[in-house]
């Protein structure tokens, strides 16, 4: 495996560590995602998957190590809003949509564009074309739920709405945390399809437990264990790796 260089990556982590009260959640983690790549990240509970997302999106500051976006932007210096504005979208493990808003308004708030209070009060934010909203709603198959409150959606629909919001942000990189947790098999298959569609135009990092789903995605897999990379490769190669079997699959 050749070591990836900074310039041809969309996301580049090197030697990242973070400690919570003496517990090393991430330990010298290094990872590189190429532009347009889709990557699945798997690992047992506590392997550091969510903390890694927190670091990339600016929620948690690493104690040491480098995190670069697009080869040149140091993410450790920025906060969540700035990182989101750069074009990194994140879907949470638990679906978080704005429950008091309609489905359309959820997308409206997520659409790329000016974000300042001033624009929201008097300016461009109030003149968003409905067509853009419609386009995204049809992508995530929620067109007929347009005027419903997000709170009234089913679990799976909320997951899709959140993916839709991510698309509306039009990010260069999508971080998707357990998108199919709690979904029916049909919904899972649909979601895999949806993500593959998205991956044509965006780089996507998917964190997932569901091995069948990861297999469906058919992309490169990284296995995390105790905060660092245990193995990397195709799903078949990884599944055959003895250390992976030992710490994760075999148990």
């Amino acid at each position: 495996m050749t070591s990836p260089t900074l310039t041809n990556t969309v996301l580049y982590l090197d030697g990242v560590s973070v400690t919570f009260d003496g517990f090393r959640a991430i330990n010298k983690l290094s990872l590189a995602i190429a532009p347009g790549e889709m990557r699945a990240i798997i690992g047992p509970n506590g392997a550091g998957k969510t903390t890694m997302m927190d670091i990339i999106t600016g929620k948690t500051r690493p104690d040491e190590g480098e995190v670069f976006f697009g080869g040149m932007i140091d993410l450790t210096m920025l906060d969540e809003a700035e990182i989101a504005a750069l074009g990194i979208g994140r879907k949470f493990q638990k679906p978080t949509v704005f429950e008091s808003h309609t489905v359309a308004d959820n997308i409206r708030l997520a659409l790329a564009g000016a974000r300042s209070p001033f624009s929201a009060l008097f300016g461009a934010r109030n003149r968003i074309a409905e067509e853009r909203i419609d386009a995204i709603l049809s992508t995530v198959r929620l067109t007929e739920h347009r005027t419903r409150l997000a709170a009234d959606l089913s679990h799976g629909q909320k997951q899709w709405l959140e993916i839709g919001m991510l698309l509306a942000q039009d990010p260069k990189l999508l971080l998707v945390d357990e998108p199919v947790a709690g979904m029916t098999d049909a919904e899972t298959a649909e979601t895999a399809h949806l993500l593959k569609e998205i991956a044509h135009e965006h780089s996507v990092v998917v964190v997932e437990h569901d091995m069948a789903f990861v297999r469906d995605l058919g992309c490169k897999v990284t296995v995390l264990h105790e905060g660092s990379v245990l193995a990397e490769g195709s799903i078949d190669a990884v599944s055959a790796n003895e250390r992976v079997i030992e710490v994760y699959l075999g148990r």
């Binding site: 809003a81 989101a84 504005a85 429950e99 808003h101 708030l109 300042s116 009060l121």
Partner: protein
């Protein structure tokens, strides 16, 4: 599908009723006070006009509080401080209007300064003899405090109960400060014995009516501003912050800027409310800063229904009318009643009066549409 213009969206059913009631009050109360004979059951005596004016200035405070609590989830336990600061700014103007008519007859210094042997007006009193300046300060002082306080708090992401506790500490600290004579604002006794406002005697019937009408107009304007804010996309972002702050952040919104705008506007509205309150009540003193006052304002909003604006104003008026009546009739019972109100509203009426009514109507509408849909489906078969 096309979007409705924002001004149309602003005026929903309850807003229209609210503004209608305010317009009626602004016209009918002065008419009744001036032209109906005192024996008429519909006559509103002058003292009642001022009392009503006081309730409405509380309503504006409640409206301000609802903007931050109802729409942004910031439970401020220190809004009384902004109210009191606005009140003090107005009080300082009114003190300067007394001129040489004080008990000690000093040409410039207010009585309490003469009493404390002060030789000259402290610097921060200068300019307050000019009404436009005082009016500007009514907005600027609370606004600035909110801006600085909010900037610090929101930037470091102090939220939830922590924010509530430090807002309470803020108003508590201000109360202690205003109790000090050295503060140069009347210490314990505060500012009182006002004579004129804009050249008219504050006691005169006409002035009292004018102040009442001004309060109604301020309340209507406050409602307009708040309603515009919450119906614009800005308001949608506020609600998004309230429901899922971190999600909003990951969408790229600078949550602290949004909160800061709402908090500052709200503080300025509270300041205006205080400024209208003071001439109608005739006194402002440090007890207005007491944490209990601020938290009482919270229950007005809760009773009326938070996140409804109209409900907040309604709650303020209803609770304060009940307070006036109870403290007159059964003074021992008032705190029991107020305490029970806090408990009952949080346990059994979390959406408040207006929120609960709106919910009922929604439900009725939903069942009605379901029924018609069912009938239509049957007919189609």
């Amino acid at each position: 599908m096309t979007r409705r213009p924002i001004l149309l969206a602003m005026l929903d059913g309850k807003g229209a009723i609210f503004l209608g009631v305010l317009a009626a009050l602004a016209v009918l109360v002065p008419l009744s006070n001036l032209f109906l004979p005192e024996t008429s059951p519909l006559h509103v005596p002058t003292y009642a006009v001022s009392l009503l004016g006081k309730y409405l200035s509380y309503a504006l405070l409640a409206l301000a509080l609802d903007l931050v609590w109802g729409y942004c989830g910031i439970l401020s336990l220190g809004h009384g401080a902004f109210f009191a600061l606005g009140g003090y700014a107005m009080g300082m103007y009114l003190m300067r209007q007394i001129g040489p008519r004080g008990v000690y007859g000093h040409p410039v210094l207010p009585d309490f300064m003469v009493f404390l042997n002060w030789q000259e007006l402290p610097w921060y009193w200068s300019g307050f003899d000019i009404f436009p300046f005082a009016a500007l300060m009514v907005l600027a002082v609370p606004g600035l405090l909110a801006l600085v306080f909010g900037w610090l708090a929101f930037r470091s992401r102090v939220t939830g109960v922590y924010l509530s506790i430090i807002t309470q500490a803020m108003t508590f600290a201000l109360m202690l400060a205003f109790f000090r004579n050295d503060m140069g604002l009347g210490g314990n006794n505060g500012l009182t014995d006002f004579k004129d406002i804009l050249g008219f005697s504050v006691q005169a019937q006409g002035t009292r009516l004018a102040l009442f009408v001004a309060t109604v107009i301020a309340l209507a304007l406050g409602y307009g501003v708040a309603r515009y804010m919450v119906t614009s996309t800005y308001g949608k972002v506020l609600i998004a912050i309230r429901d899922a702050e971190s999600r909003t952040r990951f969408l790229g919104y600078r949550v602290e800027h949004y909160k800061l705008v709402a908090f500052t506007v709200s503080a300025m509205m509270a300041g205006v409310a205080g400024a209208l309150y003071v001439p109608q009540v005739g006194i402002i003193n440090p007890s207005e800063f007491s944490p209990a006052n601020s938290i009482e304002a919270v229950v007005w909003v809760a009773v009326g229904g938070r996140g409804t604006l109209v409900g907040a104003a309604l709650g303020a008026v209803v609770v304060n009318m009940a307070k006036s009546w109870l403290t007159g009739a059964l003074p021992e019972l008032w705190l029991f009643a107020l305490g029970a109100l806090f408990i009952v509203v949080t346990l059994y009426l979390p959406k408040g009066i207006v929120g609960t009514l709106a919910e009922r109507r929604e439900k009725r509408k939903a069942t009605a549409t379901a029924k018609t849909a069912g009938i239509a489906a049957e007919a189609a078969e």
